[in-house]
């Protein structure tokens, strides 16, 4: 067991009814644990057999089907144990994105988390199952003694007569004496159930949560992507500073000079002053234009107004080729994710406009409950690559800061399909399905 029970229980000052309701929920969970042992047993048999014959094709096929099922079962237990312990249990698996078939098997063999899952399945049908049964039995005992007088009443005379030697229970009135046992059963249930369920949850947690190695590797990845993100933001800030300095700031200086000269000329040379003022007006227009493009580079207004869905539609409308947009989002992701995906999509569309020679493109935006996915497809010449210096590497780096991934499939001759995926939750259940061709 990986942790010790704290000296003071978090349920110290709990009222009787809160304690009762907590234990009733635990009893329900104990039923779930007992039932979940059935699929666990099936998986254990199949996986053990499949591992034994893994060198032949049918063994591999079985593994390809049943390893993910075992993962599902483990995930259910991660959630249950997390609920009982009041924590969140991370999933420790190595990423298997863009790996399939035999490669998947190789990845699994190299992934300690899969072997730990397998060991856990053994535990869950032995020790774990025993703990679940005892927990379940405690609840059953309480229930039995509670309804005993009623059972006595509905069954024929004599079936549930009790002989304690010194006392014989053989009338309906006497059946209520069994409630003395109810007190015992209830006490056992009250004291033991939380302890046993906690043991079970701690066992699951010990075997199913990420190992130290996994966490260390994760931290290393995060530090690297954070360092890259910081570099990137510093470079962005420098770019913005330069844009403002050479653009809007310089134009405002020129504006001041124009106005100063116009003021000088006003009395002596009204026509010259009018020309100066006209020039000043033109300068304000270009200064505003500069500021607008700087603002678009920081945070596009349409993204603030309409979120990712509207902003991607707006991007599509600005393209010189027809781009159909299909968006199905039941809410908005966090602002930084939204912004990263917007700029990534914008970069991809810019590439299509500049390099692909495409005549049409399709953007699809979906969320599968865990990750937001943007798929951008064009019918251009293909041959795009993350390493070709077309800005795709920058897109991938930007997304990496959010654990996001970019997948480029672009055979020479096309079509090109770029898939961006960022794990995130959606906030506010505002439904905004929209589609159309721009």
């Amino acid at each position: 067991m990986s942790t010790t029970v704290p000296a003071t229980s978090p349920f110290e000052g709990e009222s009787f009814f809160a304690g009762l309701s907590r234990r009733l929920k635990l009893s329900v969970l104990s039923v779930a644990y007992v039932l979940l042992a059935v699929p666990a047993l099936v998986l254990l048999c199949v996986l053990t057999t499949a591992l034994g014959v893994a060198i032949v094709g049918v063994g591999m096929a079985l593994l390809l089907i049943f390893v993910p099922l075992n993962q599902q079962l483990a995930n259910v237990h991660r959630r249950l144990a997390g609920r009982i312990l009041g924590i969140h249990i991370e999933r420790p698996y190595l990423p298997t994105k863009s790996v399939s078939g035999f490669g998947l098997l190789k990845r699994w063999v190299a992934d300690p988390a899969r072997w730990r899952d397998f060991a856990w399945t053994y535990m869950s049908v032995t020790v774990g199952w025993a703990l679940a049964w005892i927990s379940f039995g405690l609840g059953l005992g309480v229930l039995w003694y509670l309804v005993f007088p009623f059972v006595y009443w509905v069954t024929p005379n004599g079936v549930f007569d009790m002989n304690y030697g010194f006392f014989r229970l053989d009338t309906q009135a006497e059946s209520f004496f069994e409630w003395i046992w109810l007190l015992v059963a209830f006490s056992l249930w009250w004291w033991l159930l939380p302890v046993l369920m906690r043991w079970r949850a701690e066992l699951d947690r010990a075997m199913l949560s990420p190992t130290r190695e996994f966490l260390e590797r994760r931290v290393a990845e995060v530090s690297q992507s954070r360092a890259e993100t910081i570099d990137h933001s510093a470079a962005e800030l420098r770019r913005i500073e330069r844009d403002l300095h050479d653009g809007a700031q310089a134009r405002l200086v020129a504006l001041g000079m124009n106005l100063g000269m116009a003021e000088e000329m006003l009395a002596k040379n009204p026509e010259g002053a009018a020309a100066m003022l006209a020039e000043a007006r033109a300068v304000t227009t270009s200064a505003l234009g500069d500021l607008r493009s700087v603002v678009r580079g920081i945070h596009p207004p349409v993204l603030a107004d309409r979120g990712l869905a509207g902003a991607i539609q707006a991007l599509a409308l600005d393209m010189s080729l027809p781009v159909s947009v299909m968006i199905n989002l039941a809410g908005r992701p966090a602002a930084p994710v939204e912004s990263a995906l917007y700029f990534a999509t914008s970069e991809l569309l810019a590439n299509i406009g500049k390099h692909s020679g495409a005549t049409r493109a399709v953007i699809e935006v979906t969320h599968d409950g865990e990750a937001l996915k943007v798929v951008v497809e064009d019918d251009g010449a293909g041959g795009a690559s993350i390493n070709a210096g077309t800005g795709l590497a920058g897109v991938a780096r930007r997304l990496a800061a959010f654990d996001g991934t970019m997948d480029v499939v672009s055979p020479v001759g096309g079509p090109t399909v770029v898939t961006l995926e960022v794990p995130c939750a959606l906030s506010s259940p505002k439904i905004s399905p929209s589609s159309g061709t721009a």
Partner: protein, 215 residues
């Protein structure tokens, strides 16, 4: 002409009011958010509303939404929308909110006072005025299979200026040709876009612009 102004920045609100009053418009109300705009439009009998896109409380696109709502309540009510930036998406939404009497301009255009005042009059008269920035993107993205592809380069240029809300005389001046030459171009445009030549001229121009947008 009776104008309602909705703009949250006091500096710009006062500036717009002064500017329009200098050109003999009657500013019946100048409000600072979309909610007050709705109230004012219900109580005052205005000929046109000049509305900023970004206003309180969320500082996103409530001005645009208010403009579209006002036109839903009073079909054909003229609205000129001003913004620090223009989006094709918003131009489409505005044009889709009814036939004509709608304008969408960058705030910068206010500096060109006479053109701006003309734009207010055009919209109040039922015309359509689009910002040159919107129009130039539209010209760039006309598809080979759209009716727009049938136009000559010159006709496309004329259509672009029409979309900006300019009259034939103004287009003639901009292109350094006679007004007669322009009216020849416009009738060719209407023919090529399959628009009824007997239709009222103002509405026809609007339809041409909408055909342009759908290209």
């Amino acid at each position: 002409m009776r104008v309602v102004i909705a703009e949250d920045l006091a500096l710009l609100r006062d500036g717009l009011t002064r500017l329009l009053e200098a050109y003999d418009f009657e500013v019946v109300a100048a409000v600072e958010d979309a909610e007050k705009l709705g109230e004012v439009l219900r109580t005052h009998d205005a000929d046109i509303a000049v509305v900023d896109v970004r206003m309180p409380p969320t500082f996103t696109d409530e001005g645009l939404r208010a403009a579209i709502a006002a036109r839903a309540e009073r079909p054909g009510f003229p609205v000129l929308v001003l913004s620090q930036y223009v989006e094709q998406l918003y131009a489409r939404e505005l044009l889709g909110s009814g036939d004509g009497a709608v304008g969408y301009l960058l705030k910068d255009r206010v500096a060109d006072v006479t053109t701006f005042v003309d734009a207010v009059r055009t919209v109040a008269g039922g015309g359509t005025v689009l910002d040159p920035e919107v129009v130039s993107t539209l010209i760039a993205r006309a598809q080979p299979d759209s009716p727009i592809a049938r136009l000559t380069d010159r006709e496309r240029e004329v259509l672009g200026l029409m979309a900006e809300g300019r009259s034939n005389a103004a287009i003639a001046a901009a292109l350094f040709v006679t007004e007669k030459a322009i009216s020849k171009h416009t009738s060719n445009i209407f023919m090529k876009l399959d628009l009824d030549a007997d239709d009222d001229s103002n509405n026809r121009r609007v339809l041409a612009v909408i055909a342009y947008l759908q290209g």
